[in-house]
Amino acid sequence: MKNHFFSAFGVIISWLALAVWLEAAPARAVDPGAAAFIATLQSSALPKEKSEACRQLARVGGVEAIAPLAALLDDPLLSDMARYALERIPEVSVNAELRAALGRTQGRQLAGVITSLGVRKDADATPLLAALLNASEAEVAEAAALALGSIGGADAIQALLRQLERSDAASRRLAVAEGLLRGAEARWAAGDRSEARKIYQALTESPLPPSAQMAAIRGAIVHGGRAGRRLLAASLGDPGEVVFQAAIRASLELRSSATATALIRALPELPFERQCLVLRALGDLGLPEAIRPLGRLAEIGWGSEARVEALRALARIGSPGALPVFCSLLADADAPVAEAAQAALGAAPGKEADALVLQLLNSDDPRIKLAAIELTGRRRIYEANPRLLREAGAGSDEIRLAALRKLGELGGEGEFKVLLERLVQPAGQDLEATEAAVTAIALRGASTPYVLPLAAALGRGAPEIQAALLHILAALGGPEALRAVTYAARQGEKSARSAAVRALADWSSPDAAPALLALVRDAGDAPERAICLRGYLRIAGQGELGDAARLRMVKEAADLVRDTEERKLLLGMLGGIGSADALDYVMMRVEDEPVRAETRAAIVSISRKLLAGPAARQHASAVVQALEKSGAAASEADLLAAAKKLAGGAN
């Protein structure tokens, strides 16, 4: 009990000291609080506290923490946490403590200590670790191999090379290979290139698991200098897939003319599938040296597929140097090649490509001209618009229609006016495509510049053109457009008037409602009157107007309703309004025999809305009365019961 008390007291004092320090210490002073953590380690504190002390000492521990931490290296529970701290303490004396622990630890603790010596790159540990390469425990031997590789000194590498010939188990061979690969990288980084190459050479000549074999070949190529380039060339043609893959990956790391040359030279001798991968590697390398041979391959390659791959590689390189190749193949007789060339030119960066496309618009070859027209849209070349306007008025059908499509994508106010004028000319051509272009331009941007020219054009052109202009105006919306369409609906020729009525009936915003109601009142033509009423009621159905406004609109229309069908329409709209006033209004028509069914449906619909609303109790009695009086009670027993229940509660 006494011991527990003192240990707990010691921990409390330690943590108090830490708390005081944390409060008072300047931001970057050496941490005097380490003393508190050390005290925790040396107390009989619980493992949790000791573990936390180790974590903190990893951050702030100094020389004074080393021995207390090292004392825990053979503690089964805290050994890992002791290493956690020791690995992060910069003082070199940590290494001696770790080395000393090699003799008194085993199993996982020993493997951990070995790992820490590797993390700290302790060259003095080399002979001790080399002796552990043949340890019976796999975890220990493999940790030793990895650590020696991390240390990477000449002795460490010699020990690993000797071990390479001895290890039998695949996992041990893999660990030794990993150690040697790390060692080779360390020698290379230290400037000892010949030693690094010797290691890779030794690895490539040893029987290794495939992953290590690939790593060895990759290293030998990347770090092999001239010999590496020879190896690259040989590996590309090697029958082994591991070797070929290593060569491809290595080539991506060696971004040089020599690499590009080696890949290009290897191409003719390779099977097709490897050629494709080599071409992709050339694209990913992005070297200008590859443009010429790739261009030649794209132009006169040994088959459609290879030519397409060459074009894709050129597209990846993304250099202006490849642009002439793309241009020359735009109209190639081989369709996939022409398609790939167009895709490549379409995605090529820079203004040079835009300029080339503009030049191609002058081509006498209609196929090239057509491709160029398509590319103006793909590349968004607005400078092409004057030229596109010219092409849209001359040339073959195909060229004219393509130009009109692109004008729809690229055109602005100027092109709109020209096309609109063409549209309303008597005996104009390509009316459908021109109309599509005019519509696309008008609907793409802000509406302001387009409404007045459209309004001014009303009254000109063929009836179907008039209808199209009216629909564009309806789609654009706004007071100016509404005024123009309303005028046409009242004053236009019959066909234009009919189109204008339809445009008004489809108007998206509520501001068309007064014009529609006026037309309902004044129209002599019964079908037009019906269209206007439906349009008006459609607007009245827009929920965002609010129930009161919608009911007011319906009441206004009710005065103009003439026959049973129109009364049905009205009731249908009323059913969508969930207000007590709407219910009262419908109830006024409950005796109207020809529309009895519609009246009941409206009453049921409104009742459901009222009972689902926040004032359900308040409306329940009215709903009961309405259902009973309209005769809907029998078929809507559940609704009636719900209303009665609410009404009873209200009472």
Binding site: G112, T115, S211, G240, A347, R380
Partner: protein
């Protein structure tokens, strides 16, 4: 010198299944756009012949891993054959999902990753979707064993771990993709391309969403509970390289978040989603932030990280309509996008006019698909570097780790991305690495 494909020198090199897979599929992929399963590799019924499929194993398949599994399984040219998890219930659930998909009972289960790697030489690649603590170690072990790796994010716990992943991928020539899937999504690609092509003018700031959780991590231990049997939950394996602590079931049910040993804080959690995006947009995919400005709050909200090109990245908690948001601000406009946006938000609608062209151009130029897992599988076949390569992962995660260290030490920091060290702060340098528990070491 003669190279062979066999482990034995001088042995003949018969065409094994994997070689055949490479050859036939590579040949096939030459014809089609790279993201389309090549027609030539497909069998008559539309399925890829078994001999040509990429053989996969899944490691650590909880909720996120299951999501990934469901994402990958429909790809016709792959086949999952094994799953590995320290928890029996998750092993069983993942096996069930795989078996159900293939309508058989063939998926093998493993409790220990080392056994999976030692016994399943047939695996071409692995999906790693463990908790944060295992991502780097599992990736390194798998790549050392010759597997290509798709690793969930955050893909490293420390700067040193990230460096080790990068070096291993390079050393063994493996294809490594970190799960920053927004690098393969069209809205985010459009935003990056707006910035990259200069349409936003000169970029002066980018903003990265930090959605939830705290920057400060807990060192506490939950109350000990009796450990289940190893077959049910292998607690030692679950902990892996992390410092030992007693078992509590909350950890294994996702409650590991918020603990220093297991989690990379809100900055890691969300920075792993957003920093790679931001760094790609400003041409800093191959480097990390150089200055970190401490902010005195719980989340890092408002922290400014400066890159060598002078562009600032601001960590931002609010102002998004979805998660994982990024915003790029230039002298001529801005773009902002997050998960759930119908379209990217832009300073002017004119910027959206080029949406389709910019995405198409990116596809033509990069020859990559708009699918992160498809990019991974394509790269397994072509040996190209994926869009979220180990290098991309390491440099963006180094920015995450440096920002965390800034918050933990509560002071401004300078970082040298070339040396991967803090030039004037020894204490910060100590936090670049953590000791690993043996034998879960690299």
């Amino acid at each position: 010198m003669k190279f062979t494909t066999s482990a034995e020198p001088g042995a003949a090199a018969p065409l094994n299944r994997r070689q055949f897979l490479r050859r036939s599929a590579l040949a096939a992929s030459a014809l089609a756009a790279p993201w389309i399963v090549p027609g030539r590799a497909l069998g008559l019924n539309g399925a890829t012949p078994a001999s040509e499929r990429i053989v996969l194993g899944g490691i650590g398949l909880g909720p996120r891993g299951t999501h990934d599994l469901r994402w990958m399984l429909p790809e016709k040219d792959i086949q999952f054959v094994a799953v590995c998890d320290a928890q029996a219930s998750r092993r069983a659930a993942a096996k069930s999902l795989v078996d159900q998909h293939y309508d058989n009972r063939d998926c093998a289960t493993f409790r220990d990753l080392r056994e999976l790697l030692a016994q399943r030489a047939d695996l071409d690649a692995v999906l790693i979707a463990t908790g944060d603590r295992w991502h780097a170690l599992a990736s390194i072990w798998a790549m050392r064993a010759g597997k290509d790796v798709y690793s969930e994010k955050p893909s490293s716990m420390t700067i040193t771990e990230g460096r080790a992943v990068l070096e291993t991928a390079r050393r063994y020539g493996r294809v490594y993709q970190t799960g920053t899937q927004r690098l393969s999504e069209d809205h985010f690609t459009f935003a990056n391309e707006l910035a990259r092509t200069g349409r936003l003018g000169k970029i002066f700031a980018v903003r990265a969403h930090i959605a939830s959780d705290l920057a400060q991590m807990s060192h506490a231990w939950l109350a000990p509970e009796p450990e289940p049997g190893r077959d049910e939950v292998d607690w030692d394996e679950w902990l892996g390289p992390c410092p030992w602590r007693p078992y509590n079931n909350i950890y294994i049910r996702g409650g590991w978040r918020g603990y220093y040993d297991f989690h990379t804080s809100c900055i890691g959690e969300w920075g792993a989603h957003t920093f790679a995006q931001c760094q790609a947009a400003i041409g800093a995919g191959d480097t990390s932030g150089i200055q970190y400005k401490y902010v005195n709050n719980a989340t890092g909200d408002g922290m400014v990280i400066t890159f060598a090109n002078g562009i600032r990245m601001v960590l931002q908690r609010e102002g998004w309509h979805g998660t994982c948001g990024v915003k790029f601000e230039g002298t001529e406009g801005w773009v902002s996008v997050a998960d759930g946006y119908r379209l990217p938000e832009v300073s002017s609608p004119v910027l959206l006019q080029d949406y389709s062209r910019l995405v198409k151009d990116y596809l033509a130029r990069s020859q990559r698909p708009m699918s992160h897992v498809r990019d991974f599988f394509d790269c397994i076949r072509s040996r190209r570097l994926p869009v979220a390569s180990a290098e991309v992962m390491h440099h963006s995660m180094s920015t995450v780790h440096a920002a965390n260290i800034c918050m933990w030490l509560k002071r401004d920091l300078r970082y040298d991305p070339a040396e991967e060290r803090f030039p004037d702060d020894p204490e910060a340098n100590r936090l670049r690495a953590r000791g690993m528990r043996a034998p879960w070491v690299i």
